[in-house]
């Protein structure tokens, strides 16, 4: 299996890249959502899984960057994809600003700190006349991009985020990140610059999450602060990463597939959808305590995207 890693990944990627050719519109939609959630969950995985930055505030980047896209396209007529890119940079700026306050905090304090930031942004945007308070904004570029274009943008995000994690983990600092995941204090004693590594990951995470959110809102069209900055986003990402396997690259790949499939399937069972989602999550965690890929890896050593060097 592992021997065929590159052919398998190649087939997968080309399969995804040719969805507009072979897939139905629904397959395209499914893959689009898959890629977007994959990119965002990979980033949460990078933070929580490797650097123990337990962020509960990913929605801060999602909403902030989504609003940046809306404001830039609507008020300034910026080309839609350029505004997505700028949105990503705005997200990094936000992350830098946030880090001034929350990087002194650890563990649960950091988690709550990020969440509070997201809540503050929610209050700010819902009270800000410029973005029409809580009414929300429509992202209406003069020439709305087609679904195929949006799909490719999201494919770039999904594949790009996965590749980015892989490259980071294979790079010089990658081993340090994995060591941090296993034991932060000892990795520090070995000479890992914890603060810088964390900051780096936080920046990367905010950038890719921001870009992805930009694409997401180009797809969504309508953005409204109460949901853009809602903790729901992070809850979804946590769900994906935990059931897939935290601290593995394959985890979010599998977890996202399960989540998107479930959310599509459960939407038809309106009143019990959340209940079912909860039961499924608990079952998976009971059967595979370190997530599907984490447990598979422990039991069989299977890891197709292992960042192992040697």
């Amino acid at each position: 299996m592992v021997k065929y890693k590159w052919p398998i990944l190649g087939v997968l990627f080309v399969g995804f890249a040719t969805v507009p050719v072979w897939g139905s519109e629904y397959v395209l939609l499914f893959c689009l959502l898959y890629c977007l959630y994959l990119a965002m969950s990979q980033m949460w995985n990078l933070l929580a899984g490797y650097t123990s930055l337990l962020s509960l505030g990913q929605q801060a980047f999602i909403g902030f960057s989504g609003y940046a896209v809306a404001v830039l396209t609507n008020y300034y007529g910026v080309y839609i994809w350029l505004s997505v890119l700028i949105g990503g940079f705005f997200s990094v700026l936000l992350a830098l600003f946030m880090s001034l306050f929350i990087f002194r905090m650890r563990g649960i304090y950091f988690a709550i700190g990020t969440w509070i930031f997201a809540e503050m942004l929610l209050l700010w945007f819902s009270n800000w006349k410029y973005v029409k308070y809580g009414t929300g904004l429509f992202i209406k570029p003069p020439h709305p991009p087609s679904m195929t274009t949006i799909y490719y943008a999201s494919l770039i995000m999904g594949a790009g985020a996965t590749a980015a994690i892989y490259i980071i983990l294979r790079s010089k600092i990658g081993l340090g990140l994995m060591a941090m995941r296993d034991d932060e204090d000892v990795s520090e004693a070995m000479g890992v610059e914890i603060f810088r590594s964390k900051l780096f990951c936080f920046m990367v995470g905010s950038f890719i999450t921001g870009l992805t959110a930009g694409v997401l809102y180009v797809f969504q069209i309508f953005i409204q602060p109460y949901k853009a900055f809602a903790i729901d986003w992070t809850v979804i990402l946590v769900f994906i990463v935990i059931i897939g396997g935290i601290g593995t690259i394959e985890g979010p790949i599998v977890g996202t597939f399960i989540y998107v499939l479930l959310s599509q399937w459960l939407a038809e069972y309106a009143h019990i959808s959340l209940l079912l989602l909860g039961i499924i999550a608990i079952t998976i965690i009971l059967l595979a305590p370190t997530g599907i890929m984490g447990t598979l890896h422990q039991k069989t050593g299977f890891a197709i995207l292992s960042p192992r060097r040697l």
Binding site: W6, G10, W22, T135, L137, P144, F219, I221, Q224, A228
Partner: protein, 433 residues
């Protein structure tokens, strides 16, 4: 050392050059399969069903679920009626085909609503989208309909936020406006009670609270009202004493609110305890549903006023079933044992419009359906529907007051109808103190 070990490792490491080589082979192989695959997969999805499919994103769970509550009761009933004689004649099929609906939950979440609408369009291939209930449902679904060029009929969300998403090509909407309808109805009710025209504002920090307070202050001042606005408050605020003190000090006699039900309950109870008794209390959203009114407890609901967009007293008939508003409400109460709510009429009206449109279009071609919607000119159970060039149709709004009821603990009486005198008054407004 590292290189020598590589071959027998469990983890298959790979050098950069190797990667390029293997990667190129893989991409090549996959390209070929990618090109062959479509021919195999495509024909499988050609077969077309023999019915008309209407997509119905609905807030079945979450904070606005009480709006979505009459689904699927209203929907199934209306569809059964449409399909009674075999459905609607469609040219493409050369015969009458039934209408089917597919309801999906938006969880009261606009993001989810967008996803659900996309899925209804691309997976279920709906011919028409019918959707309702607050901007959180209507705005995202309308946007998605525009993107995929699917005709959409929407109702029950204030016009102003809906218009933000325009100009629309595929969407048509019907409801009232905050500026043109809510303000005249509210102030019209206040005019009937002798007050000092000092209004205290109780509005949450949410889209409605923010926009309503702004609109009222702008237009109300021209009508000679003085507003005491002590600011927006967050959801689930527990202490309103500073608001109440402020109103008492400034001698407020009219309370104007727009809050979620639990917040109004807290505030209103504290008003009683602290001895603040305005002459009129007109509250949006919080006292829309009988369940919320009953939850206030005691006699607290007595005399509260609010907007009424639909009631059994509305003198309209369903074009679909011939039922009057009263008969529709009675059927609801008989089947569910619950008191009528305002969304029932609007939900029903959506199917009236859809059926009328499809009968005129006689087609499942989206452009034809869209044009048929544009030409709509009909009486429904919520009033006359005729879309203007901005694609909306204003529906009538009157004022109501909650009083102790006979059949149910609290009943809503129509006490103001100046703009729409065809909707009969069923009571006379009385002052709270």
């Amino acid at each position: 050392m590292e290189k020598k070990k590589k071959k027998k490792d469990r983890y298959d490491g790979i050098s950069r050059r190797d990667f390029m080589k293997k990667g190129a082979v893989a991409v090549g192989a996959a390209m070929t399969s990618g090109l062959v695959l479509p021919k195999v997969v495509k024909p499988a999805r050609a077969a077309r069903r023999k019915y008309i499919l209407i997509g119905r994103p609905n807030p079945s769970t979450g904070p606005i679920a009480s709006f979505g509550e009459p689904t699927p009761w209203v929907d199934e009933r209306a569809v059964a009626k449409i399909n009674k004689d075999g459905g609607i004649y469609i040219k493409e099929f050369g015969k009458k085909v039934p209408v089917k609906i597919k309801i999906m939950d938006t969880e009261s979440n606009p993001t989810k609503a967008g996803e659900v609408a996309s899925r209804l369009i691309v997976k279920d291939k709906v011919d028409l989208m019918v959707f309702y209930h607050t901007p959180d449902t209507v705005n995202p679904v309308a946007s998605i309909c525009e993107r995929f060029k699917v005709p959409g009929i929407s109702l029950d969300a204030p016009l102003e936020p809906w218009l933000e998403g325009g100009p629309y090509h595929w969407n048509f909407h019907a409801f009232w406006s905050v500026e043109k309808d809510i303000v005249p109805v509210y102030t019209g009710m206040w005019e009937q009670v002798k007050t000092n025209r000092v209004v205290g504002i109780l509005m949450a920090n949410d889209p409605d609270g923010v926009s309503w307070s702004a609109v009222f202050k702008k237009l109300g001042a021209k009508l000679g009202y003085k507003f005491v606005d002590l600011g927006r408050f967050p959801y689930f605020n527990k202490d309103f004493s500073s608001f109440i003190d402020g109103w008492k000090k400034q001698n407020v006699e009219i309370l104007l609110g727009n809050t979620i039900p639990p917040d109004f309950a807290t505030a209103w109870r504290q008003c009683q305890r602290l001895g603040f008794r305005p002459k009129v209390a007109t509250i949006g959203k919080a006292v829309l549903f009988p369940s919320a009114v009953g939850a206030l407890g005691g006699d607290l609901a007595n005399g509260l006023t609010t907007e009424v967009w639909w009631s059994p007293h509305h003198p309209f008939k369903s074009s679909l079933t011939g039922e009057s508003a009263r008969e529709l409400c009675d059927a609801w109460m008989k089947d569910t044992g619950k008191e009528w709510t305002q969304p029932i009429g609007y939900k029903h009206a959506g199917y009236e419009i859809a059926a009328d449109v499809l009968r005129r279009a006689q087609s499942i071609d989206k452009q034809t359906i869209r044009n048929a919607i544009a030409d709509t000119n009909m009486d429904t159970i919520v009033g006359h529907i005729r879309y203007n060039k901005e694609h909306y149709s204003r529906t009538p709004l009157v004022g109501g007051q909650w009083v102790k009821g006979t059949k149910f603990p609290w009943e809503l009486k129509i006490v103001y109808n100046k703009e729409h005198p065809n909707i009969p008054m069923t009571g006379k407004i009385f002052a709270l103190s």
